[in-house]
Symmetry: C2
Subunit: 330 residues, 2 copies
């Protein structure tokens, strides 16, 4: 891992070795520059989205890229599914800041022999995911590449206050809203050659992030927030690290829904592991002052203390960790 202040990586270090986190930190250190941050960059790299002053307003901006074979397979997901999924990852990033997505642009790299209908259907999926909140696709770029990759950038705005990953305080309550483990269970099912339970497969293909709950949590006084894209424990670790606190999760408070129990039984795995470490559902996790009533739909699942790291029921979780981008993501 490269330290925050460093502007170069060890000469023998690879991207895979450094990991996404290390690389993002190295790049963030460069981007902040030797003289610190720019007054128009209200929130820079390292949060779910950046917040910048531009064109007379304040704009949230985030980018996510999905690559065939890593993030999706064309035999497991339709083009429209991929559109839904890539859009959802971006829209959830904006929601996790307390914002509302307004505008998307997309860069599509694809083999020249990709059916044009696939690209059209991808666009339909993107648009359908955006439509309920009124977000618009306003531009794109297309170029040839050996595999399909889709990079989506989202612009959003804040109806109220912004909520960052940093800000959780000892004594705060940790709460979540949205599904946990469903998309990972769907992927596990597909990976083993099955197509059911259908509700889980669909959760992998088209996650249903609780977008509207981002601004709701901000209005309710959330002190920190993140979208659960890499798994609950992994993302809470990000939030805890940014906030310089520790978090303990009470496993008994986590809902292990019936389809997850069924998959756990069928696959011989602990369904709680899916809930704790499964990514790509884009649930929202946030911390709230203890005296705040949690908004409807949010469930308290743990507590913030002084210290560092994330524990489950007071102990280090010894199941598999949240997935790492460079350790293969399915």
């Amino acid at each position: 891992m490269t330290a925050m202040g460093s502007t170069s990586a060890p000469s023998d270090q690879t991207i895979g070795g450094l990991g996404e986190g290390g690389l993002v930190r190295a790049v963030a250190a460069l981007a902040s520059g030797p003289t610190g941050s720019h007054p128009d960059v209200l929130i820079g790299p390292g949060d779910d989205a950046a917040l910048v002053r531009v064109g007379g307003g304040e704009v949230l901006v985030s980018v996510d890229v999905a690559v065939e074979g890593r993030h999706f397979r064309r035999d497991w997901s339709s083009a429209a599914d991929v559109g839904h999924r890539v859009a959802a990852a971006n829209l959830a990033d904006v929601a996790a800041m307390g914002g509302v997505a307004r505008t998307l642009v997309v860069a599509l790299s694809a083999p020249a022999d990709l059916p044009a209908q696939w690209a059209v259907d991808l666009t339909r999926g993107l648009l359908a995911e955006c439509e309920p909140m009124g977000a618009r696709l306003v531009g794109g770029d297309v170029c040839e590449a050996d595999v399909v990759s889709v990079a989506v950038t989202v612009l959003g705005e804040l109806p109220g206050r912004v909520v960052r990953r940093a800000g959780a305080r000892p004594g705060d309550v940790v709460a979540v809203t949205g599904r946990l483990g469903w998309a990972a269970a769907g992927l596990a099912v597909l990976s083993r050659g099955f197509r059911s339970p259908r509700v889980l497969v669909e959760a992998h293909r088209r996650p249903e992030p609780p977008y509207a709950e981002g601004p709701v949590a901000a209005a309710a006084g959330a002190t920190a927030m993140i979208d659960v894209s890499d798994g609950l424990l992994a993302d809470l670790a990000q939030l805890a690290g940014a906030s310089d606190v520790s978090i303990d999760v009470r496993s008994g408070s986590l809902l292990v829904a019936e389809p997850l129990q069924a998959v756990g039984a069928a696959l011989g795995t602990d369904p709680l592991g899916l809930v704790l470490t499964g990514g790509d559902d884009h649930a929202l996790a946030a911390t709230f002052p203890a005296d705040v009533a949690l908004p409807d739909g949010w469930t308290g699942i743990g507590a913030v203390s002084a210290g560092a790291g994330v524990t489950v029921d007071g102990a280090t979780y010894d199941g598999p960790g949240g997935h790492r981008h460079f350790a293969g993501r399915g």
Copy 2:
């Protein structure tokens, strides 16, 4: 080619067959939706950048993607060169609207064994290209892929009026500023195994778009503008098409710089062909009312008339056309 109103592509059509233009039109038709454009989308897909109302302001947004083997080769360009080049393509898109770039986000896909230093140097190049105008890199995403690809999204703002591709009127003067043919000549040199003239190779590696001239042209009353990324004739054809006019270029008014003449002689090609069809310099081409004095640094090269299409000295240009993305771009 798919017509504007269509929302699906012929079932046997591929992306390569449809071409970037056809695909962008099909997607744009989808994005505009059955009920027309959204009031917050002031300029939608199909121009150099979109213009949207978001976060209380008006923001220009554009995305460009560069793929290893198509847009750059790691043995011909350093990581910093690639950073400069990808940033330049984006910043020029904003300039071509009359705007100033303020913020970039980058999505990097790369093999896990890519040296981390390459990504750091790429970032340095991006930052160095942005620094003179005060634009900032505020976020990014990284994921694993078989080849390196870099998707950059830029946000910008308008110091004055916006200038679109549409707006040229019969009687207007066509003018350009910036280099034409240099990057293509540099690529031709590299493709044949040479490394000189160095000034042309450098023009391929790090184009020098005349960013500041975009707002200058807007203030001077430009009626239409585009950045020359695909070649002068190809991009003027875009401008003419969007404006529903024809354009005639006077070849004698085009500067064929000495290094281009040298390369033409060495390679046995007409250097004027490089000037007319070479892409990736990101010069700016604009139309001005005939009674407007062209700003310093702009050269009148042709005239706008009623009709359609682009001619050179009154005739169809029979040299090689502007490059097409899916016909291989070097």
